[in-house]
Symmetry: C2
Subunit: 392 residues, 2 copies
DNA sequence: TCCCATTCGTTCGGTCCCTGCACTATTGTC
DNA sequence: GACAATAGTGCAGGGACCGAACGAATGGGA
């Protein structure tokens, strides 16, 4: 904060944040809510409308006497774009300022079979398609990758080993947009606190079950990053002195207990089609759910084992982070109905309040949604970065 | 941020923070460092001097041509006061804005044997003594208590059960100063990042060994609090399926493995004077160190066991929080020379970078120092809360 | 010895933005 | 139909910062 020019930005941001958090309202109401005067708010709203960030809505009938106000609310003039690069697909989602999904696509792609440069070129084309198919101007792109990231460079990627060292932002530089890169679980955690039933919760832990186990932690409204960007990485917690070897070279990591491999090994013999690595993952998960619903004892037992293992680890996370809720995503959410009871039982044996577990409702769009949200963040921080005729 | 009046506060705060973080310098240098103009900085410095927060120092000889500048730096016009209520003592420390300790006292007191009201009256008298014996005007008091706190009310206190429900701020209301209350380990963690070898480290975990084990976690420069203020409470982590019963009613909590009781049980038979609860704790710890230095096998083995247990738990903390350093305080620091090797060995088996462990150098003043630092924080956030003639 | 380049710190006019008040616009109630 | 109540907009005023110009203090060179 240095010049009074930044006062303007700060007040524009305050008004925008107020409209985001509390919904549309009249200028007069906005004035009392922000503590600014009506005159100032009038001027701020005029500028925000000129930048395409805010739009006038219907006339508000307050039911009482006096002149009715004109509602103003967030407009869809600009959007942020989230991209997810995962093992077998690319996903893109465009979210406008008002929180509406403007574009969504998901494309199967054998990512490990291609060079990163080729994958990023494909992703770039998908982003261009998203920009062309809806009116909002894109302000930024955030890419979710299944691994650790420093800056825009992938540092660790257990499931995409060929991507280590890849500068993802450089691969998308052709778009002419700011590109940021993040861990998929971290971005999913941000999606959970920005939309859905846990919107606005400042302390939340997100767990995603994939081949490994990913985690994203939000504390005090901020994503926990740690000194090297590896904070909240729960997959390789050494919780039990178990002997199962892990891909990381050590033994007893949490993901050897609750990862997808552990579930499939417990639920099916090696020659069972469930164990066929060539089959589509969602198909196999669907079959697990079908068997469990049919009451198959072995499947139910395997799921209960995963639930208990989740509870043991979640107990540590609850004790350390004290989140309001632990959200389960990825495959955990798909089979969640069979996990919650044993999970809560294991949790109740170890911590005070075992009731703070929920299943994600965002499904597989969590990471892209979180990415789009992150891409929009600079606009909320400083609305003046959007030019004046964005959607005049 | 709403009015341009707050611009002034923000810029005063920016200048003050700059001087705190980078040391004294000339006005011209401060202008380039803050990005403000010389004219503005001149005005800001004048006001800060009038508030007693900044003082002119020696003339700076830059060695090159040109008029030499006058150094300005943080002054000792105001101080924050930290108070620690613990099982067997009260401690008070006054820290001025420049980071100098202006007053320090520690008084033995049988806290469990008195009513909280009486203890707080005693603490209030000690604070008044501190205010009377040094010139800086006190701006606030922060009280460290060994337990969980919500607002200013003690919620959990394993070692001071009679304090649950006590409103600590109310007990010190007679001072006429803002009073905040915090957990002792949390405040110690803040002390570690505000002074000493780890000053400025944004991601740090502090562990303190007492009867129990306390923890304070700083991530992204912020204290981790969690949704109910219990974040970072490491003592009751369920790490091992051990059978040792814990005071919390469960089994296998970390503090049953590495707490002071575990050390003494492992190091001495029940009739050993070390196990005499009537003896002073520091005496007993001194004897442990003496025996270890003399090469006593049983003592060394017990300490190695504690070190290994610490490493097992620290591995979880390192994996989740990814701190730049884990600082050991309390009794861990006293016997630290015998803990570090087994601790690092256990850590190295579980995480990548096992070298981020250090012993606290602040000793038993960590909590009060952290408290005083917290008490000063509002001044750095908004220097205008200090009246204009603080030390005219 | 004297002058000048260089750097520090202050003074002064200008600009931007918020504030407070006055004023118009619009609606419901008596 | 008059009045009260609420919404939104113009206008003068003031506070804070910026840029430029100026005096102050020092070292170096002729």
């Amino acid at each position: 904060m240095q010049t009074q020019g930044q006062v303007r930005s700060a007040n524009l941001a305050a008004a925008l944040a107020c409209l985001r958090d509390g919904g549309p309202r009249s200028r007069a109401r906005l004035a009392t809510d922000t503590g600014l005067t009506k005159a100032t708010v009038s001027s701020l709203v005029t500028e925000l409308v000129e930048r395409g960030l805010v739009a006038e809505g219907a006339v508000h009938r307050p039911g009482s006497v006096g002149r009715p106000g004109t509602l103003v609310g967030l407009a869809g003039g600009v959007c942020g774009i989230g991209v997810e690069v995962n093992v077998d697909y690319l996903a893109v989602l465009a979210l406008d300022l008002a929180g509406q999904v403007r574009w969504e696509s998901r494309t199967a792609l054998d990512v490990p079979g291609l060079r990163p440069v080729e994958v990023l070129a494909r992703a770039s084309a998908l982003v261009s398609e998203a920009r062309a198919n809806q009116a909002a101007a894109a302000v930024g792109v955030t890419v979710a990758v299944p691994g650790g990231v420093q800056g825009s460079v992938v540092r660790t990627a257990p499931n995409l080993p060929g991507w280590v060292g890849t500068d993802v932002a450089a691969g998308l530089a052709g778009l002419g947009l700011p590109v940021t890169v993040g861990n998929d679980a971290d971005l999913s955690a941000l999606a959970e606190v920005s939309a859905g039933p846990h919107a606005g919760v400042p302390d939340l832990v997100y767990l995603t079950g994939e081949v490994g186990v990913g985690g994203g932690v939000v504390t005090g409204g901020q994503l926990l990053r740690g000194s090297t960007g590896l904070g909240g990485e729960v997959g390789h917690l050494a919780l039990t002195p178990g002997d199962a070897p892990c891909g990381c070279g050590r033994r007893g990591c949490w993901e050897t207990v609750v990862g997808l491999g552990a579930l499939l090994r417990a639920a099916a013999d090696p020659d069972d089609p469930l164990r066929d690595p060539g089959r589509d993952l969602e198909d196999r998960l669907g079959e697990v759910v079908a068997r469990a619903r049919a009451g198959d004892a072995r499947t139910l037992e395997a799921l209960a084992g995963i639930g208990t293992g989740l509870g043991v680890g979640a107990a540590v996370l609850v004790a350390l982070f004290d989140p309001a809720v632990v959200v389960l995503g990825g495959y955990f959410a798909v089979v969640g109905e069979f996990l919650l009871d044993p999970l809560r039982a294991a949790l109740a044996a170890r911590v005070e309040d075992a009731d703070r577990v929920a299943l994600s409702t965002l499904g597989f769009t969590a990471a892209v949604r979180g990415g789009a949200h992150v891409a929009l963040q600079p606009v909320f921080d400083n609305p003046t970065i959007v030019p004046l005729e964005a959607s005049a």
